[in-house]
């Protein structure tokens, strides 16, 4: 749009408000978000009702039936111990979903307060927090996660914590930069001039007006966390066997690549589609919540 005094776009800031029906309506108009959202719900359904959807146990070994090709009985075939791949896939979905969501929740609980504190108090507090975050960011994410796992031990919760700590710095940086711009807005000055307390300033003025990109980032973050968990499990460092995860399924498939290449596909495609779905929803949220970027990304 033309940036002139008589801009013809009727107050584009308008759409920035956050009201549940509004953004949901916006999302529902965003075609890819609907596709992504539906797929996420589908995977969630599989994960929750996994025991009802299959006749096998995920860790049930059946040596005579090892390396079976996909068939009616074994939809996706069996692995080197004769375990049913479809069963392992839907049980693996539980790990991916739980780790993805836990990580982001942890990241937000660390990142949002850090970012808001840095922005609101500024000065030394800000510098200290930001240098610390820079330091954290300078350690390659996967290496950091591996170190944390070494300290904390493997498992769903520790993997989520490791990945959550990883994602938290992006959250902190993002909300800090948003909050800094809120700090320059006149409504914030007005509230300060009235003598509004620090708590009210942060919770009523700063946070609601800077949280949007964090929400967008969170939905993208779920995808990153799913990828991260898969990588860690692939390396044998995340959630440890025999619990099935998409990452350790692929790790096994890698070892038996020549004898059973079909094992390589389903977990990979599942990760890809689930991560893509979260990024569709994230893009949709961005379009709805931040009209400035509409259609640009």
């Amino acid at each position: 749009m033309v940036k002139t005094s008589d801009s013809v776009e009727p107050s584009s800031v308008d759409t920035a408000r956050i009201q549940l029906p509004y953004w949901l309506a916006g999302l529902l108009r965003h075609r890819l978000s609907v596709i992504g959202g539906s797929f996420i719900l589908f995977v969630a359904f599989l994960a929750v009702f996994a025991p009802l959807l299959t006749g096998f146990e995920p860790t049930e070994v059946d040596p005579p039936n090892r390396f079976l090709r996909p068939s009616f009985e074994h939809l996706l075939g069996t692995d080197y111990l004769g375990r049913d791949q479809f069963t392992r896939l839907i049980y693996g979905a539980r790990i991916s979903m739980v780790v993805g969501i836990f990580s982001v929740v942890i990241a937000s609980f660390i990142g949002v307060p850090l970012g808001l504190t840095a922005a609101h108090f500024g000065g030394w507090t800000d510098s200290a927090i930001m240098r610390f975050i820079d330091a954290k960011l300078s350690i390659p994410g996967l290496i950091l996660a591996m170190m944390l796992l070494l300290m904390l031990g493997g498992g769903v919760l520790t993997v989520s914590i490791a990945l959550g700590i990883n994602l938290s710095s992006a959250q902190a940086r993002l909300i800090r930069s948003q909050a800094l711009s809120v700090k320059e807005r006149e409504y914030f000055h007005a509230a300060r001039a009235m003598g509004t307390s620090n708590w009210r300033l942060i919770l009523l003025h700063m946070m609601p007006n800077s949280i949007q990109p964090v929400i967008v980032q969170a939905s993208l973050g779920v995808g990153f966390a799913i990828l991260g968990e898969a990588s860690l499990s692939f390396l044998g460092l995340g959630v440890t066997p025999p619990t099935p995860t998409w990452g350790n399924m692929l790790s096994l498939a890698f070892q038996y690549m020549r004898s059973a290449p079909y094992l390589l596909f389903a977990p990979g495609v599942a990760i890809l589609l689930l991560v893509m779905s979260f990024s569709f929803v994230g893009d949709g949220l961005r379009d709805v919540l931040d009209p400035r970027l509409k259609g640009k990304i």
Binding site: V2, T4, S5, D6, V8, E9, P10
Partner: protein, 345 residues
């Protein structure tokens, strides 16, 4: 809108066609926005004579800037689109011109200065290169010659140390200096027409005066006609020969500045003039204001768009949009009640 007015305009134009350099006929420009279709400029006709200073005045959303951008062929498409009309310039209809032809006209025969001095210059390119660019494109000057000429132009617009400024970047300059650079750039090829779109709105009063005086001086020196787009009624009074008053996408009144200010032909113009407090004498009590709000362009009232805010509104105004009609010598206005309104003023 009305053929009657158009033929009158045509007649006026052809009588004096030797000196008319720009003629806009029935221009309509629309934008598709999420809120709906915006008729930013709706059936606008006007002309500019050689060396004339025309002001287009109005409040936000009136369509004054979109008119200018339409003339320059700079409407971003999509979402904007010129849906009708003619823009005659140098014997050619610009709306039919090819991209190459338009590029030749822009910056060569027609220049434009924008509102925001801080963002209108390329931040990573030196001032010298930016001023030299039109010289190289339109006059075919060599790099060295263009640089020399750019230095001359910078000194013409009154920048101190013009030769050193050639290698400076925009962020090293003040807003006033940047607007001077914009003038140097827009005037570099001595265009026939220069459009200044709120060119001094962002500047301080004392700097605004400097830049406006400079603009007028350079335009006179180069024989360039000016279209000044502004919301500042004082600027119009000081510099314009003619004035078009726009409201909600349409020209509501047009005439010589002296005539329009002394004897406004439209209740909107009159309301606008009386809304501005006086600098020359102290007033107290209520200012005469126009009641209500500027209408939403996606949802204009029926009939005359000014109707809902107009103190003289009649039933007819709510049904039919009034055409532009003569209200005096070289003075037109679009108001059903203009006779009655002017009688009471």
């Amino acid at each position: 809108m009305t053929t009657q007015t158009n033929t009158e305009n045509d007649a006026a134009a052809s009588a004096d066609s030797a000196s008319t350099i720009l003629e806009v006929k029935n221009l309509s420009t629309q934008f598709r926005t999420r809120a709906g279709l915006v008729k930013a400029v709706d059936d606008v006709s006007f002309s500019v004579k050689e060396r004339e200073v025309l002001a287009i005045v109005g409040e936000s959303g009136c369509g004054k800037s979109v008119t200018a951008l339409s003339v320059m062929g700079l409407i971003p498409t999509p979402p904007g689109e010129i849906v009708g009309g003619e823009i005659m310039f140098g014997g050619k209809d610009l709306l039919q011109a090819s991209d190459d032809e338009m590029q030749e006209i822009r910056g060569g025969q027609m220049g434009m200065i924008f509102q925001e001095p801080m963002t209108s210059l390329n931040p990573v390119m030196t001032i010298g290169k930016q001023v030299a660019e039109p010289l190289r494109i339109h006059l075919g000057l060599s790099k060295a010659a263009a640089r020399v000429r750019a230095g001359e132009l910078l000194s013409l617009v009154g920048l101190p140390d013009p030769l050193e400024k050639l290698d400076d970047y925009p962020h090293q300059m003040s807003g006033g200096q940047r607007q001077r650079v914009m003038i140097a750039m827009a005037m570099s090829c001595e265009p026939k027409l220069l459009i200044a779109d709120e060119a001094t709105t962002a500047l301080d009063v004392t700097v605004q005066a400097q830049v406006l005086e400079l603009l007028i001086r350079v335009a006179e020196e180069f024989g360039t006609a000016l279209i000044i787009i502004t919301h500042n009624l004082g600027i119009v009074a000081r510099y314009a020969h003619r004035v078009n008053v726009m409201y909600a996408g349409k020209i509501r009144e047009s005439g010589t500045a002296a005539d329009v200010y002394k004897n406004p032909g439209h209740p909107y113009t009159a309301g606008l003039l009386s809304s501005v407090p006086s600098l020359m004498q102290s007033t107290s009590g209520k200012l005469q204001s126009i009641e209500g709000e500027i209408p939403d362009l996606t949802d204009l009232p029926s009939g005359c768009a000014f109707g809902p805010r107009c103190p003289y509104v009649q039933d007819r105004c709510r049904l039919e949009d009034p055409p532009l009609e003569n209200v005096g010598d070289d003075h037109i206005s679009a108001c059903w009640e203009s006779a009655q309104f002017r009688g009471t003023t």
